[in-house]
C-alpha cells in the first residue's frame, strides 16, 4: 500500500465500516425516532478518543458525544481491564453524553492483545424513564427528573448482555422490551463495524492501519486549514436569544460568541470560537453538555468551509471551541441537559451570524428551529409518538430559504414521519400537513416557509413540547424581515384555538381535541421591495405568498387580470 496514492481506498473502507453499523442499528431498533425514519449514529474512534470516521447519517451532535465520552469511559475502565467481546455503555451528560435517553455504546477492537480502536453506536432509545414517556422532560428542573443516568459501565461480555444491567434498564423503562431491542441493535451495530475494522487490521497490518489513520487525520486537518485560510481574518462577535427556559417565561437567555478567524495564518493558528459571556446554566432543561456545544460550533464553522472536507479529529484540530464552565453551553450536575438543542441552536445561529458578517456574500438569515414534541398514552400500555417538524430556513444571499427544512446539522425532511404509518400505530388522525403561506420572512431573498400539521386524537393522551423561536422571531438581515412565528396549539372540540407555551410537559388532551404544530418561518435577506416581480408572481402561483402578502409585504399589487405592479408605498418598510 503506497501512501498517499491509494489512501482513498482505506478512507472509504473506514467510513463504510461505520456506515454498515448504522444500517444494522436503524433496521433493527425499536425507538420511535428510528421507527419513524430517523437515522442511527455510528463512529470509529481510536483508544485516545480521536474520531476517525463516522457514518454518513451521523450528526455531529452524536459523533462529538461519542468522541468526548470515550476518554471518560477509559478513565473508569482502563484499557488493560477490557476483554474482547465486551461492550460498554454510558449516557452521563456531564461526561460527554447528551441526555439520559441517548445511549452511547462502545466496543473495543483489539490489536496485539490491547484495545487500539473503538466502534461506537448511538440512538435515542425508546424510553428510559423521566417525566414523560419517550424521553422529553421539558420542565425538568434537575437531571434526576430526566430519567436513568448511566456512568460508564460494562453492558455485555462475549457471553451476552450483563443480566444486572438488563434488569436495571428494564426496571427504569416504560417500554422494557423495546428498550432492550434498541440495546441489542446498538450492540449488533458495534459488532459489525468491529468485524470490518479487524479485517482492515489484517489487510494493512497494525502499523499500516495506524499510519493510514494518522495520514487521514492529517489530510483532513490540512484541508480544514486550507479552507479556513480563505475566510477573512478578524474577530466577529454575535449573540442569539433563547425565548425562555420554560419555567420563567419572561426572561430570554442569550448565547454569545466571539469568532476569531486566522486568515492566511490558518496553517498555524486555526479558528477560535469563544462563547465567553454566554448566560449561566439554569435549573431548567435549556442547558447543554459540552459535547453538544462543541458540535454546534464546529458544524456552524464547517458550513462556511468546503463542504466535502471529511469529518474526523483532523478537522477539530483546526477549530478551537471555548465554553465557559457552568454556562448554558457547559452545564454541571444536576442541571438538566435534555433540552440541549435549544442552547446549541442559539450557539449555531450566533456563529452563522458572525460568519455572515465576515463573508457577506454567503450570509444566511436566522432560521426557524426544529420543534420536537411527543404524544403518548396517559398510562400503560404505552404508545408513544415522538417526532419533530422543521421551521423554514433563513434566506441565503442570492437564494430563498428552503421550506420547513431547518438547518439542523444537515438532516433532511426524510426524518419527518409520514401520516399513514403513524395512524396505523397510534390512536390519532393526521388531518393535514401544509406549508403556511406568507410565513417566510419577506426580503429580496425570502425565508423558507413554516409548516402546519394537525393531529386529531381518537383517545385521551399527553402532549409534551420543546419549542423555541416561538416568541422571538428569527430576524432578517440587510433589510429582510423576520419569519412568521409558529406555535403549539390545542384546538378544542368547538374549534377554538388555545396557544400552549413553547415548552409544556404532559398536557392532557381529550379524544376529539386536536394538537396543532406550526413551525416558524426563516428570516429574509434584503428589502422585500427589491424582490423581482417574477419571483413574487411565482410565489403567488405556488401558494407561498397570498395576494395580501404580496401587497403588504412586497408592495406588489395584483390586478384584476392577474398582472402585478409595484406599489412601494404599500409595502412594509425593510429594517436593517
Amino acid at each position: 500500500m503506497s501512501d498517499p496514492l491509494t489512501a482513498d481506498v482505506l478512507r472509504n473502507a473506514l467510513v463504510v465500516a461505520a456506515e454498515e453499523a448504522s444500517i444494522v442499528v436503524v433496521r433493527s431498533a425499536y425507538s420511535t425516532f428510528i421507527v419513524e425514519g430517523s437515522d442511527a449514529s455510528a463512529a470509529l474512534l481510536d483508544a485516545e478518543g480521536r474520531l476517525i470516521a463516522q457514518s454518513m447519517a451521523t450528526t455531529l451532535m452524536n459523533s462529538m458525544a461519542l468522541k468526548v465520552a470515550l476518554p471518560e469511559l477509559v478513565a473508569d475502565v482502563p484499557l488493560d481491564a477490557m476483554r474482547p467481546g465486551e461492550v460498554y455503555v454510558l449516557n452521563d451528560a456531564y461526561r460527554g453524553g447528551v441526555h439520559t435517553n441517548d445511549l452511547l455504546v462502545y466496543r473495543p477492537v483489539f490489536v496485539g492483545g490491547r484495545p487500539a480502536y473503538f466502534t461506537a453506536t448511538m440512538i435515542h432509545v425508546s424510553d428510559l424513564g423521566g417525566l414523560s414517556a419517550g424521553g422529553m422532560a421539558p420542565l425538568a428542573t434537575d437531571i434526576f427528573l430526566e430519567g436513568l443516568q448511566l456512568p460508564p459501565i460494562r453492558l455485555a461480555t462475549s457471553a451476552g448482555i450483563e443480566p444486572a444491567v438488563e434488569a436495571i434498564l428494564r426496571a427504569n423503562s416504560r417500554t422494557p422490551d423495546k428498550v432492550m431491542g434498541d440495546v441489542r441493535a446498538l450492540i449488533a451495530g458495534t459488532a459489525v463495524a468491529a468485524a470490518r475494522l479487524a479485517a482492515l487490521v489484517e489487510e494493512y497490518g497494525a502499523a499500516g492501519l495506524a499510519e493510514g489513520v494518522e495520514a487521514y487525520l492529517d489530510y483532513t486537518e490540512a484541508r480544514t486549514r486550507a479552507a479556513l485560510a480563505e475566510l477573512p481574518a478578524g474577530r466577529f462577535a454575535a449573540s442569539y436569544p433563547i425565548d425562555d427556559d420554560g419555567i420563567d417565561l419572561a426572561t430570554p437567555r442569550h448565547v454569545r460568541v466571539a469568532l476569531t478567524l486566522p486568515g492566511p495564518d490558518a496553517a498555524r493558528t486555526g479558528a477560535v470560537a469563544d462563547f465567553a459571556g454566554t448566560d449561566p446554566q439554569v435549573p431548567a432543561a435549556i442547558n447543554a453538555s459540552a459535547s453538544q456545544s462543541l458540535a454546534a460550533a464546529v458544524f456552524a464553522v464547517r458550513c462556511f468551509l468546503d463542504p466535502a472536507i471529511p469529518m474526523n479529529d483532523g478537522c477539530l484540530r483546526a477549530i478551537d471551541v471555548r465554553l465557559p464552565a457552568g454556562s448554558l453551553l457547559d452545564a454541571r450536575s444536576p442541571h438538566p441537559c435534555g433540552g440541549r438543542y435549544v442552547p446549541i441552536y442559539a450557539a449555531m445561529e450566533a456563529v452563522f451570524q458572525a460568519l455572515s458578517d465576515a463573508v457577506p456574500e454567503r450570509a444566511i438569515a436566522a432560521s426557524g428551529i426544529l420543534q420536537p414534541f411527543s404524544i403518548a398514552a396517559v398510562g400503560a400500555p404505552y404508545w408513544i409518538h415522538l417526532a419533530y417538524d422543521f421551521g423554514g430556513v433563513g434566506a441565503r444571499r442570492g437564494l430563498d430559504g428552503p421550506d420547513a427544512t431547518g438547518v439542523h446539522f444537515g438532516i433532511g425532511r426524510n426524518s419527518v414521519p409520514q401520516a399513514e404509518p403513524v395512524e396505523s400505530r397510534c390512536p390519532l388522525l393526521v388531518e393535514s400537513v401544509e406549508t403556511i403561506p406568507d410565513s417566510g420572512g419577506p426580503g429580496r431573498y425570502r425565508g423558507g416557509l413554516g409548516s402546519r400539521t394537525v393531529y386529531r386524537f381518537l383517545a385521551d393522551c399527553h402532549v409534551t413540547t420543546r419549542g423555541d423561536r416561538l416568541r422571538l422571531a428569527p430576524p432578517g438581515r440587510d433589510g429582510g424581515l423576520p419569519g412568521r412565528l409558529g406555535g403549539f396549539y390545542r384546538r378544542r372540540q368547538d374549534g377554538t384555538l388555545e396557544r400552549l407555551a413553547s415548552k409544556v410537559n404532559n398536557v392532557r388532551f381529550a379524544a376529539g381535541e386536536a394538537f396543532v404544530v406550526e413551525t416558524t418561518g426563516g428570516g429574509g435577506i434584503g428589502s422585500p421591495l427589491e424582490r423581482n416581480l417574477a419571483e413574487v408572481e411565482e410565489d403567488l402561483r405556488a401558494g407561498r405568498v397570498t395576494s395580501r402578502g404580496a401587497t403588504e409585504d412586497y408592495g406588489v399589487r395584483v390586478g384584476a387580470d392577474g398582472t402585478l405592479s409595484r406599489d412601494a408605498s404599500r409595502g412594509r418598510p425593510g429594517r436593517s
Binding site: S2, R223, T405, N414, S432, V454
Partner: protein, 684 residues
C-alpha cells in the same frame, strides 16, 4: 421454437441479439440514436436478420432506457397530482436526505419535486388505516379538480389518496371522474398499493409522468418492426427481471426504469453457475448484483436519480419508486472516470467521467485529463478498443498525476487502477457483505467494456476464486433479455389481514389477469412472499410464504439473524403480501452447452482471432513492475494460460494477473481461477 430477438438500447450503443432455434446467436452493435431510439433499433434488427424471413421471429424482448431518461432528464409529460384534502403540500415538501457534502452546505436547495406545487389538487374524503370511511367522498370536489386540470391542458393525472391500500374505493371513484376529462389517469392502488403515502405517491406520479411516452414509443416501435416484417409481440424487460407485454409496460412504465441493468444480471444468471455476482462495468458506472440459486436478489424500493454513496444509492436523494427491482449496487466509476488530485494532495478517481466526448485522453479526441482507460493503457492492459488508442497521449495525461505525486507514470497509473478496483469492490460489498452474504464461494461474472480488465482484482479483494467472462460480454444485456420470462408482480399492504392465503390468492388472480392467463394455467408459476417484522419495528423483511405460522416465523428469524446478526425472538406481524406470477419461457439451449458458431454481424473493429501480438509489457506490482506478458485471444487461449497474461476479446480485454489461470469454459466463456498458492483472502 422460433427465432427470438433481444434489443438493449444503452447510452452509447444499441445491441441486438438474434437467437436461432438451434441456439446459435448473431449479434449487432450499432450506435444509439438519441432523438429516436427506434432508428438505431431498426438498423440493428435489419442487420441481424440479413437473409432471414422476418416472419420466423416469434419473440422480441426489449430493454429500454426511455423511462429512466425521461425521469433523469425531466422529459416526461406534465402531471396533475390529486390527493386527500390537507395533504397537497406533502409531495412538494419532499422527503429528501442530505448526505455527504450536502450535510454542511448552507446553500443546499432541496431537489425539485416530481410534480409542480401549483399542479397539486385536493379532494374531500378520508379513509382510516383500517379501511373505514371517515369522510365520504365529495364527488363535486373531484369534478372541480378534473375540470381545472383539463382547463390547464394537463393530459396526465396521478391519484394517491390516504390509506387507499386499505380501501381503494374512493381512489377508484376519483380516477373514474378524472378520466371523463383527462386522457391518462393513474391511481396509486392500481400501481402499488403499499403503505407510506409519500413513496406510493411518487411511484404513481412517475407512472403518470412516463406512461404516455412509453405507450406512444412502444406503439411506434411495433409499427416500425412490422414494417420490417417482424410481427412478433414486443415484450419489455422490467426492473425485477421479468418481462411485460407492451400493453402492461405502458400502464406500469415505472416498472421498466432498471430495464437494461436487469437484463445484464439475467445474463450473469444464465451462466448456469447458480451462485454468482454479476459485475457490469461500463464507461461511467459499474453495477453489481447477487444471484443465488440462479435467481437475482430483488429489492422493493429504489431511488432513481439519487446520489451514490459508497456503492449504494442513498435513500432520499432521488425519487423513490416502490416496484420490485433487481437489487443492484451502482458506483459512479468506469473506464471514462477522470482521476484527479484534490486540494490536500490525495489521488481521487471519479465521479466525473470524460464520457464519449472528449473521452479518455488516449482516444485523441481532445481530452487531456487522465482516465481509468488511460491508466489501463499505460499499464499495458489495453492495446486497442473499437477505436485506436494513443499510448503517448495516455502517458502525458498520467504525468499530470505522477508529477505532483512524485511517483513514476506507471505507479500513478497503477494507483488509479487500484482505486477503481476498490470502488468496484464497494459495489460488490454493498450487495454481499452488507446484506450478510459471504461472497466467497460465488463466481464473479464480469461483463461490460471495462469489467474483464478489473474483475480478477475485484475478486481478490473478496477471496473469490472464480471469474467468468461470458461470450459476447460486450452485449451481455441484450443476450440476457432472451432469458427473461413473462411475469407480473402484485403487492398489497394490509395490517392484520384475517386470512393471508385469501389475500395472496387475490393478488395471484390479479397478476395472472395482467398476463392474460388463468392462475391455474399449467405454464404459470406463482411465487408468494410476505413482508414480516417484529411488532414495534418499522423495517420489515420479505420472506417466502409458508402456510405454517411456526415455520414462517422460523424462516423470518433465520433471515433476521442473517441480515442483522441478531438472534431476536418476539411477536411477528405480517404487513405486506407479494405475488409474482411467471409464465414459463419457451425453453432455450441449456446454459452449459456451447452454441455452435456465433457470428458477429456488425462491423466491430478490434483484434480478431489469431492476430493478437504474442507478448507485450504489462505492469504487475507482484512482479516488481513491467513484465513481458503473453497476449492471446479466446481462440488461441489453449487449455490453460497462467497469469500474468492478457486475453483480448472483440469487445473487451481480460487481464489475468499473476496467481490466476485462464481456461476456456462452457459456452465459449473464459474462466479465470485463482491458483491454489495465490494470495490469501484479504477483505472478508
Amino acid at each position: 421454437m422460433g427465432f427470438a430477438i433481444g434489443v438493449d438500447v444503452g447510452g452509447t450503443f444499441t445491441d441486438v441479439v438474434l437467437r436461432r432455434p438451434s441456439g446459435a446467436v448473431t449479434v449487432a452493435k450499432c450506435l444509439s440514436t438519441h432523438d429516436d431510439p427506434i432508428a438505431g433499433i431498426v438498423t440493428g434488427v435489419t442487420r441481424v436478420l440479413s437473409g432471414l424471413d422476418p416472419a420466423l421471429v416469434t419473440r422480441v424482448v426489449h430493454a429500454t432506457t426511455l423511462a429512466t431518461n425521461a425521469v433523469l432528464e425531466r422529459r416526461g409529460v406534465r402531471v396533475a397530482f390529486v390527493t386527500t384534502r390537507g395533504f397537497r403540500a406533502v409531495v412538494p415538501l419532499g422527503r429528501y436526505a442530505r448526505v455527504e457534502e450536502d450535510r454542511y452546505d448552507l446553500r443546499f436547495t432541496p431537489p425539485p419535486p416530481p410534480v409542480d406545487a401549483g399542479d397539486c389538487f385536493e379532494v374531500s374524503e378520508r379513509i382510516s388505516a383500517r379501511g373505514e370511511v371517515l369522510t365520504p367522498l365529495d364527488e363535486d370536489s373531484a369534478r372541480r379538480a378534473a375540470a381545472e386540470i383539463a382547463r390547464r391542458g394537463i393530459r396526465s393525472a396521478a391519484v394517491c389518496l390516504l390509506h387507499s391500500y386499505a380501501d381503494p374505493a374512493h381512489e377508484r371513484r376519483v380516477a373514474a371522474i378524472l378520466r371523463e376529462h383527462v386522457p391518462d389517469v393513474v391511481a396509486s392502488s392500481e400501481i402499488w398499493p403499499e403503505i407510506r403515502e409519500y413513496e406510493r405517491a411518487t411511484t404513481t406520479i412517475m407512472s403518470a409522468y412516463v406512461g404516455p411516452l412509453m405507450a406512444s414509443y412502444l406503439s411506434r416501435l411495433e409499427d416500425a418492426l412490422a414494417a420490417l416484417g417482424v410481427r412478433a409481440p414486443v415484450h419489455v424487460m422490467e426492473s425485477g427481471g421479468g418481462v411485460m407485454s407492451a400493453r402492461l409496460a405502458a400502464r406500469r412504465a415505472v416498472a421498466t426504469i432498471e430495464s437494461g441493468p436487469a437484463a445484464g444480471v439475467l445474463a450473469a444468471a444464465a451462466t448456469g453457475l447458480g451462485d454468482v455476482i454479476s459485475f457490469d462495468m461500463g464507461g461511467t458506472t459499474a453495477k453489481a448484483c447477487v444471484v443465488r440459486g440462479g435467481r437475482p436478489e430483488i429489492t422493493h424500493e429504489f431511488h432513481v436519480g439519487g446520489k451514490g454513496s459508497f456503492g449504494g444509492r442513498r435513500a432520499g436523494t432521488g425519487v423513490p419508486i416502490k416496484t420490485p427491482a433487481i437489487d443492484l449496487a451502482e458506483v459512479g466509476a468506469g473506464g471514462g472516470s477522470v482521476a484527479w488530485i484534490d486540494a490536500a494532495g490525495a489521488l481521487r478517481v471519479g465521479p466525473r467521467s470524460a464520457g464519449s466526448s472528449p473521452g479518455p485522453a488516449c482516444y485523441g479526441l481532445g481530452g487531456g485529463e487522465p482516465t481509468v482507460t488511460d491508466a489501463n493503457l499505460v499499464l499495458g492492459y489495453l492495446a486497442a478498443a473499437s477505436i485506436p488508442l494513443s499510448p503517448s497521449l495516455a502517458g502525458k495525461a498520467l504525468d499530470r498525476l505522477a508529477e505532483p505525486l512524485g511517483v513514476s507514470r506507471a505507479e500513478a497509473a497503477h494507483a488509479v487502477h487500484t482505486i477503481v478496483s476498490a470502488a468496484m469492490a464497494s459495489a460488490v460489498h454493498v450487495v454481499t457483505v452488507q446484506r450478510g452474504i459471504d461472497p466467497r464461494g460465488f463466481a464473479l461474472v464480469a461483463f461490460g467494456g471495462a469489467g474483464p480488465a478489473h474483475a480478477a482484482r475485484v475478486a481478490e479483494r473478496f477471496g473469490i476464486g472464480l471469474v467468468v467472462v461470458p461470450e459476447h460480454c460486450g452485449v451481455a444485456s441484450a443476450a440476457g433479455l432472451l432469458t427473461g420470462e413473462l411475469s407480473a408482480d402484485r403487492v398489497l399492504s394490509r395490517l392484520g389481514a384475517g386470512d393471508p392465503e385469501a389475500v395472496l390468492a387475490g393478488l395471484a388472480s390479479a397478476a395472472a389477469a395482467d398476463l392474460g392467463v388463468s392462475p391455474d394455467d399449467p405454464r404459470v408459476r406463482v411465487e408468494r412472499s410476505v413482508d414480516a417484522r417484529f411488532a414495534g419495528q418499522s423495517h420489515d423483511l420479505t420472506v417466502a410464504w409458508e402456510p405454517s405460522r411456526d415455520r414462517l416465523e422460523s424462516r423470518f428469524f433465520a433471515r433476521y439473524a442473517q441480515v442483522y446478526g441478531i438472534e431476536q425472538r418476539g411477536e411477528v406481524e405480517l404487513v405486506g403480501y407479494r405475488v409474482r406470477v411467471t409464465l414459463a419461457a419457451p425453453p432455450g439451449p441449456s446454459p452449459g452447452e456451447p452454441p455452435p458458431g456465433a457470428a458477429p454481424a456488425g462491423a466491430l473493429s478490434g483484434p480478431s482471432a489469431g492476430t493478437a501480438p504474442g507478448t507485450r509489457p504489462a505492469y504487475f506490482p507482484e512482479l516488481g513492475g513491467y513484465a513481458e506478458t503473453p497476449v492471446r485471444t479466446r481462440a488461441t487461449l489453449g487449455a490453460a494460460l497462467d497469469g500474468p497474461a492478457i486475453v483480448e476479446d472483440a469487445e473487451s480485454t481480460i487481464v489475468v494477473p499473476p496467481g490466476w489461470t485462464a481456461r476456456p469454459g462452457p459456452g465459449r466463456a473464459v474462466h479465470l481461477t485463482r491458483t491454489p498458492s495465490g494470495k490469501a483472502p484479504r477483505d472478508v
